[in-house]
Every structure is written in structure tokens, then in C-alpha cells.
């Protein structure tokens, strides 16, 4: 296959047969209770140097509970997929957990920009769309997918994509390599104990992330009966056999919201942004993560029931989210 143009960025790629072997051996077909605490799930399924993917955003249905636990357990040298990220990539870097980023959108604020300028974090350029397409390729079990994005741009030059001539129509087309993260982190509205999971509302790529990832941790605002899954199979976003751990995590997306359940906490984001601008993220990390033993303790002692109730109260739009 003649390659017309080739990006120079470092990228993760694992040959589909190696991924297949993993999926055969490690993804359990048994119906077993996979509920774990966030601490246990991260201990067992997130290792130093893992490539980590996160679904949706810090503002909406993001698995912030799992990000906080990764920081608490001081994972190191993670390669993070910033495909639609606003806050959690910054937290991971500020906490010293992450040394490489695949850039779709790196996040708001200057912290990360400085880390890249000063060479402490290595980046490879992609786009939100092509990183998401790479998850689709990884989840389909094919080595690449074609796209007409990237072409002509410097983003292409510093990515890992390759441009070839389409053998059917003859025009140049970009190929992006399959991405199979070591860990996929996905927050959902509801899951059963086996890992069958439901998200409501639009999404970035919950299913693609679950399919592509070697290890999948689901955090769920609600645990539902397995029987409920079987009564309405059209609502299942992710089937259980892709899932390794189910973490029961009410307000797991906090300070982001979960549509139909609770709104995001604007005051919290304002506090975060102020500290971020002042270079005081250590204060933030200490207050909300390191000084508390768990997310539950954080929600209870740092946020408080009154605020949590208020965030639930604000979630008045429920149409379509059940």
C-alpha cells in the first residue's frame, strides 16, 4: 500500500489478532457480579503506563469518580486520550499521573499548555473526530478506518495517520490506526451487576470505548436489576461481556452533571477555574481527592448533602432521559 503522506507522531497501535486473543481470554462471558468499589476497580484494572480513555466530558456524564481514584492511587506515566476533555486531563497531569496525551482537545485552562511548552508532557496531534474514529476501528477489530479529515493540515503531519490513494475512486484519503486503550472509563446512568449498561442522551462514544478497550470500568449512578435489562433490550448501550468492573457511584460524574439526574455544579467549576488560573491546583487536588479516602467522603464532607440535593433539584428536564 503506497503511503503518500505519513504523520510523524508516536501512536499506540496493536495488531487486531493480539486484541482478539485478549478479548477471547480476558473478557468474561460468565454472568458474575462485577461490582467493586472505585478503589478496588482502579487497583485491579489501572496500571502505571496504561493508555487510558474517558467517555463524554467533565461537564456531562464523565467518570470523574474514577479519575479521582486514579489520582488518589498515584498511577504514573499514563498515556491519556484527550478526545473531548475539559478538566480531567489537567487534573491527571497536575497530579503527576500522566506524561503523554493524544490531543483531540487538551482541556481548558493554561496548566496543560505550559506543561507541553516546557516539555514535561509529550503530545501527539489528532482531532476529537479522528480519536473517536480510532476507537471505532479498535472496537470493530480492523486495523484502521478511512477519513477525509486531517488532509492538508499540520495536524496530520504530527499525527500517526497515513494518507493513501483510494483504490476505488483514486483520490487521497487518510487512514487512522485502530486504538485499543488499556483502560476505558465510562460513566453511565444505569448498570446491572454484570455490567450491562445504559446511557441516555447524546454521547461521545460509550459503546466504541467499551468495545475497543482491553479493560473497561463502568461507574454507574444507579444499579438496576438484570431483569430490567431484559425487559427493554433496546435501551442497553453496552453489553456485560465487554465490562470488567461495575462501580456503584451516585454523583460519580460530579462536578459534572448526568442528564435527567443532576446538574453540573457551576460553583465548583468556578472554584476549580480560579485555583487553576492561580496555579493552585495542588490545593484543589488536596481538598477534593487526597485528603479524603473516597468519593463518598468527598461528597459528604466537601460538597455536602444540601448541595447535592440542590443539584438534583436543578435537573428538571427529564424528557428522554429514562
Amino acid at each position: 500500500m503506497d503511503v503518500l503522506v505519513q504523520g510523524v507522531g508516536d501512536f499506540r497501535f496493536t495488531e487486531p489478532d493480539a486484541i482478539r486473543a485478549w478479548m477471547r481470554e480476558r473478557k468474561r462471558r460468565e454472568f458474575v457480579d462485577k461490582t467493586l468499589t472505585a478503589a478496588e476497580a482502579v487497583r485491579r484494572f489501572v496500571a502505571d503506563r496504561d493508555y487510558v480513555s474517558f467517555d463524554f466530558s467533565s461537564f456531562t456524564r464523565g467518570p470523574l469518580v474514577l479519575i479521582r481514584e486514579i489520582i488518589r492511587q498515584q498511577r504514573r506515566n499514563l498515556w491519556y486520550c484527550a478526545k473531548f476533555t475539559l478538566m480531567e486531563s489537567t487534573l491527571l497531569v497536575a497530579a503527576g499521573c500522566c506524561s503523554r496525551i493524544d490531543v483531540g482537545f487538551m482541556g481548558l485552562g493554561e496548566t496543560l499548555n505550559r506543561e507541553v511548552e516546557e516539555g514535561r508532557v509529550k503530545v501527539t496531534e489528532w482531532t476529537n473526530g479522528t480519536l473517536t474514529l480510532r476507537h471505532l476501528a479498535g472496537g470493530m477489530g480492523v486495523p484502521f478506518l478511512p477519513t477525509r479529515a486531517l488532509l492538508g493540515s499540520d495536524t496530520l503531519t504530527y499525527s500517526g495517520a497515513k494518507v493513501v490513494r483510494d483504490p476505488f475512486g483514486g483520490k487521497p484519503v487518510a487512514l487512522v490506526p485502530a486504538l485499543n486503550p488499556d483502560v476505558g472509563l465510562i460513566h453511565v446512568h444505569q448498570a446491572d451487576i454484570y455490567g450491562n449498561a445504559r446511557c441516555f442522551g447524546p454521547g461521545v462514544s460509550p459503546l466504541e470505548t467499551a468495545m475497543a478497550s482491553r479493560k473497561v470500568i463502568i461507574s454507574a449512578d444507579e444499579i438496576i436489576d438484570h431483569d430490567d435489562i431484559r425487559k427493554d433490550p433496546g435501551k442497553t448501550t453496552i453489553p456485560y461481556y465487554m465490562v470488567d468492573a461495575v462501580v456503584y457511584a451516585p454523583f460519580g460524574a460530579y462536578p459534572g452533571g448526568v442528564p435527567g439526574l443532576y446538574e453540573m455544579d457551576f460553583e465548583h467549576f468556578a472554584e476549580y477555574h480560579t485555583l487553576e488560573r492561580q496555579g493552585q491546583l495542588k490545593t484543589y487536588l488536596d481538598k477534593y481527592i487526597d485528603s479524603v479516602a473516597s468519593d463518598q467522603e468527598m461528597l459528604e464532607q466537601r460538597v455536602g448533602l444540601a448541595r447535592l440535593n440542590e443539584l438534583r433539584r436543578r435537573a428538571t428536564i427529564r424528557e428522554g432521559y429514562r
Binding site: 463524554f56 466530558s57 461537564f59 456531562t60 456524564r61 484527550a82 473531548f84 475539559l86 490531543v103 483531540g104 482537545f105 487538551m106 482541556g107 481548558l108 496543560l112 499548555n113 505550559r114 507541553v116 511548552e117 516539555g119 503530545v123 496531534e125 482531532t127 476529537n128 473526530g129 473517536t132 474514529l133 471505532l136 477519513t147 477525509r148 479529515a149 486531517l150 488532509l151 492538508g152 493540515s153 499540520d154 495536524t155 504530527y158 494518507v163 487521497p172 484519503v173 487518510a174 442522551g201 447524546p202 454521547g203 461521545v204 462514544s205 459503546l207 466504541e208 452533571g257 442528564p259 446538574e263 453540573m264 457551576f266 467549576f269 435537573a315 428536564i317 424528557e319 428522554g320 432521559y321
Partner: protein, 264 residues
């Protein structure tokens, strides 16, 4: 008559006026969101907004919630909720008419930089958050509108990094030769002072209009390259009383978006 307004309000109003009713529009984060809502409230009630996280055709609730991206007010009364691969596929297929984007730096040929400043990629003088979905929007949508602060450092002869493609080096069919979809490219650049298009032959940015009361020379002086100038440069109405009322009373009373930057 004097009427005070912010640069953000100018950009938002100028952009909103460009959006035709009953067209599809890929809407980026921040100012484009507010412009699209304003358009829906005035001339384009059935503008079909699409977002990169997969919402199609919402009628976002106001007051606009800053940083909302996928939440219930943002996705209110959509016609479909999909996901990122599905919505970019539809744009790639040619179903999305407009793309509306912000940018950090732009050049004579409409190439957009939101990645980094400096001559050496490995040692950026200044790093930015990167493409997001802008590269896809600029590659796929039929007519891309870019919203920019009108500042000299943002209008450069050649961007330091092409995050999202404009007309590349400006040579004939440069986009098509790269493999990009035929007939696409930057269509309008909306700034806090002016409106630009692109010359169909040379692909150079072309001054089409200036904000009422500003001399074109002043607008051109605040750019680091010389765009073409249309035979008749239009005088652009400042934000109208109706536009300002809707922006200030209905859409963004907290002024989180419309309050940005000083008064014009």
C-alpha cells in the same frame, strides 16, 4: 445615536445574521453556540444545529449555560440524539451546510491555527488546546464561518500550524488535491470589526464589510497581512436593539459569553 456593545456582541450578531433558516449547521463551543441561538430567535427558528457529541436539531433553553456541552438545556427538544462518529459521518457525507468555529489565528488563505505558536513544533512558544472537532468541521461542512477577535496578532500571513484546513497554499484546487471534499472551505470570517469572504479564484481573504463608523483602513491596519478588498465594501449594521435585547435579556443575562472583551 450612540449604542454601546461589546466586541463579542458584534461578532455574535454578525455571525447570527449569516445563518439561513432551515439549514443544518455544525456549531462549535462558546460563541458559535450563542450566535446559533440568536439566529434561531430572529430569522432562523428552524436552523438545525448539530453538535459534535451527537445532538441534532435542539432548541437550546435560555438563559444559555456557559460550558454546557451535552447537558439537558443544550440538547433541549432535539430531533435526535446520536454520538460523535455518527454526526461526523453525516458531515463527511455532505449533509451539513454550515460550520461555525472560533479560532486563535488565521491566515490569508483561511487556514486556522488552534494548536501552537512558534516556528518549531517541538518547542512551542505558546501551546493551545488543539483541534477539538474543528478540523472535521472545516474539512466537511459546505460553508465554514470563523469567528475571530480582530487583533493584528491573530491575522497572520501564514499560520504557524494548520490545525484545520483553509485553502492551504491558495493554489487552484489545493484542498481537492489534498483529498478534502470538493467545494468546501472557509466561507466567511466574522470579526469584532469586519466581515470577510474569500476570492473564488485566488482564494485570498477579501474584506466584504466593516462595522458602521469604522474606516476600512483602520480595519486593515489591524491585520498582519493585506487581504483583498471588495469593489464595494458594505457598511455593517452594529448589533440592533432587538439583537442586544435578546442577547442580554434572554440568552446571556450573566454576560458569560457576550461580556467578553472591552466595548467597541
Amino acid at each position: 445615536m450612540t449604542r454601546e456593545f461589546t466586541e463579542a456582541e458584534v461578532m455574535i450578531a454578525l455571525c447570527a445574521r449569516l445563518l439561513e433558516d432551515q439549514k443544518t449547521a455544525f456549531i462549535g463551543f462558546g460563541m458559535p453556540q450563542v450566535a446559533a441561538i440568536l439566529a434561531q430567535r430572529i430569522q432562523a427558528p428552524q436552523l438545525v444545529q448539530v453538535f459534535e457529541f451527537g445532538a441534532i436539531g435542539p432548541t437550546p433553553l435560555t438563559p444559555f449555560v456557559r460550558n454546557t456541552m451535552g447537558g439537558p438545556s443544550n440538547c433541549y427538544r432535539s430531533i435526535a440524539w446520536t454520538n460523535m462518529n455518527t454526526i461526523f459521518a453525516q458531515a463527511q457525507l455532505g449533509l451539513i451546510d454550515y460550520g461555525v468555529l472560533g479560532a486563535t489565528q488565521i491566515d490569508l488563505y483561511g487556514n486556522i491555527n488552534s494548536t501552537m505558536l512558534g516556528a518549531d513544533y517541538a518547542r512551542p512558544k505558546k501551546r493551545f488546546p488543539g483541534s477539538g472537532g474543528a478540523n472535521e468541521v472545516a474539512s466537511y461542512c459546505w460553508q465554514t464561518i470563523i469567528i475571530m477577535m480582530h487583533e493584528r496578532r491573530r491575522f497572520v500571513p501564514r499560520v504557524d500550524f494548520i490545525t484545520s484546513p483553509g485553502y492551504l497554499d491558495g493554489t487552484p484546487s489545493a484542498r481537492e488535491r489534498a483529498g478534502l471534499p470538493a467545494g468546501t472551505g472557509p466561507w466567511r470570517v466574522v470579526t469584532s470589526k469586519a466581515l470577510f469572504g474569500f476570492d473564488p479564484d485566488s482564494r485570498m481573504m477579501t474584506l466584504l464589510g466593516v462595522l458602521q463608523g469604522l474606516p476600512p483602513e483602520q480595519v486593515l491596519a489591524e491585520m498582519d497581512f493585506k487581504p483583498l478588498v471588495a469593489a464595494a465594501v458594505e457598511e455593517l449594521d452594529p448589533p440592533s436593539a432587538q439583537e442586544l435585547r435578546i442577547l442580554r435579556e434572554e440568552i446571556d443575562p450573566a454576560r458569560t459569553i457576550i461580556g467578553r472583551t472591552g466595548k467597541v
